[in-house]
Homo-oligomer: 347 residues x 2
DNA sequence: CCTACAGTCGTAAACGTTTACGGAGTGCGT
DNA sequence: ACGCACTCCGTAAACGTTTACGACTGTAGG
């Protein structure tokens, strides 16, 4: 089966009518439409995407750009696959397909994005891992490519994004720990330029000051957000002269390494040191003692991203009237055993 | 910047010449080519992929199909991101782009594949998670779409694939454990139809028989290949009347749950029960005691897949003369502490 | 009987490329 | 002066769709 022309010849109908029948246009006889659909099914005809895209200037494909930097590969922990399901649940309603565009680690993400967009293989883009200043956002805005970002950025004043509620998490974590009697609370921050670090630490600082606890920069541990980073964070914590009684992890995977290093020194998490993590990943779920951490439904997040994207595309806007604005995505604390003690009582 | 026509007008050159200049065709003046390339760079022109694909019937895009079933989402553990890097390292040489095609969990993988292929958004396919009988393989063969599979299958007698050396791993693990004095060795098998389970168990059985140890089907634990599955596997092991002294895990992530359940019953992995895993994932790296497991370089695997695919595409075949055949991918044992004891000596 | 109109369908142009073909110009040998 | 080879470039067709436009029916209303 080659193209629509062969299908039309096989039916003794003009190619225009066949196209209209397949695309559900109104001016075609019911009986004709039935025959066309049946023949298409039988011969396994599917429209050639190149021809269609060329004609109508759209591809019905949405791209999800993911960066395959070494750090992402080690840490992503199915984050993207999880989000993908949610996205697809929304896109399926409009016969849109989702493809993932993995940016090679040796290529500049901005250049990669430009290349993909210029080639017109997608109609719209979802970008993640936004940086504090991120040229991709300016580019997409200027080029008028519909997009939505997973993560805030300072690059443009007004663009569609969803971001996790880092500030809420840091705030909640600090309040919770203080309520449990902690006064000396450490926190980890990413070493990269990702935007989340600033918000996270700022909120932590404000929460402390609200309780008249002085901010101590030696308690902000800058390590990679990975298992190894967690190991190193624990190492640095143990070196502090006045050891903190609690630590907040910006990425819960770090808990795995952190636990390990602590136990090597005979420090028991959940008894000698309270630990709270952020953004639960499947692999941290089995820690012992179980980790208190802030969870997120990747599926729901993906669906929200999808709706917001479509709300920003003229053709689909009408279907998603309320989904235009930005979202700070709330997280829910799953209390575990890793911080279940009061300072001075058990420690 | 719209298309090649605008670029041509801007240069006062015919559109044919511009195209030839950009595509490195021989019959174009050096100076003209230089001007064209400069103008293209300046105006940010990139060829519209739809037009190009339509004309030449190829897209310069390779698709990597991944199934986002629940099990995959929980377990994949960046397996695909790792492989992706290797693939891209090969594809970059030919200006091929890789996209990932996530099959929605509610769609039949075979239908999804057909749809993607019919739409002609990719020139070739990499499929994974091959089943014992897998209609995708017949389809791709018949449709003459170049492809390569990650995983063997019985579906077609001759198609390009790479598969992990399950048999070698099971064999090696059994031999190693027997050398350490073990006689009663349990093994886990997947509950799904994936092909690997059969090979794994078969090889395990043969290795045992080689040492005159009777195959005991109660030692083959069928659970999901996940952390939860590991937990359950341990549970079942503990219920056996004559408890095994060693267990081989088909998926090392299971070790996390397994360890947990064992410790709950006071059974110490690496002292009371030897554990060997398969296909190391980053998240198992931090187990305590460290897990003995068979490693694999995802990058190298991806690169091999890429070469094999190109060797099966007429245009690129010449570049990869030796990469046509199938590969059984060897794995290397990384000895850890989880099986480092002799039966009867320490236990 | 004429007009209007709704329901169908065919025709052809257009989308942005690539490429086969042929033409214009130049240089060279006879 | 002529033919020939070579270099460079323009022309136009083709890829597979979608869709604006108009043509052709049949029917209803006047």
């Amino acid at each position: 089966m080659k193209g629509i022309r062969q299908l039309a010849e096989h039916l003794n109908i003009s190619i225009g009518t066949v196209s209209r029948a397949l695309n559900g246009k109104p001016d075609v006889n019911q009986e004709t439409r039935r025959r066309v659909l049946a023949a298409a099914e039988e011969l396994g005809y599917v429209a050639n995407q190149s021809g269609r895209s060329l004609r109508q200037g759209e591809t019905k494909v949405i791209g999800l750009m993911i960066e395959s930097s070494k750090e992402t590969v080690e840490n992503a922990d199915n984050f993207f696959l999880g989000v993908t399901s949610g996205l697809q649940s929304v896109f399926a309603r409009h016969k849109l397909d989702l493809i993932m565009l993995p940016c090679p680690s040796d290529e500049d993400p901005h250049e990669y994005l430009k290349r993909m967009v210029a080639r017109r293989i997608v109609d719209a883009m979802i970008i993640s891992d936004t940086q504090r200043v991120d040229r991709r956002i300016d580019f997409l805005s200027r080029a008028k490519i519909p997009f939505v970002a997973l993560g805030r950025s300072l690059s443009a004043s007004n663009f569609p994004w969803i971001d996790l509620d880092f500030e809420g998490v840091a705030d909640h974590a600090v309040e919770r720990l203080i309520a449990l009697g902690h006064r000396r609370i450490a926190i980890t921050a990413p070493s990269s330029e990702a935007n989340l670090g600033y918000l996270f630490i700022d909120s932590y600082r404000r929460a402390l000051e609200r309780h008249d606890i002085a901010f101590d920069s030696s308690l902000v541990i800058r390590v990679r957000s990975s298992e190894e980073g967690g190991y190193q964070a624990a190492h640095e914590l143990l070196l502090l002269e006045e050891r903190p009684t609690a630590v907040i992890l910006i990425y819960e995977l770090m808990a795995i390494g952190l636990y390990r290093r602590l136990m090597e020194s005979g420090v028991m998490p959940g008894r000698d040191l309270a630990v709270i993590g952020f953004r639960d990943a499947p692999r941290a779920r089995f820690l012992q003692p179980s980790l208190s951490c802030f969870r997120i439904s990747l599926y729901d997040l993906g669906a929200a991203l999808g709706r917001m994207l479509l709300a920003n595309m003229p053709i689909y806007r009408e279907f998603y009237p309320g989904d235009g604005g930005n979202i700070i995505w709330p997280l829910e604390l799953m209390a575990g055993e890793s911080d279940a003690f009061r300072v001075g009582v058990m420690a």
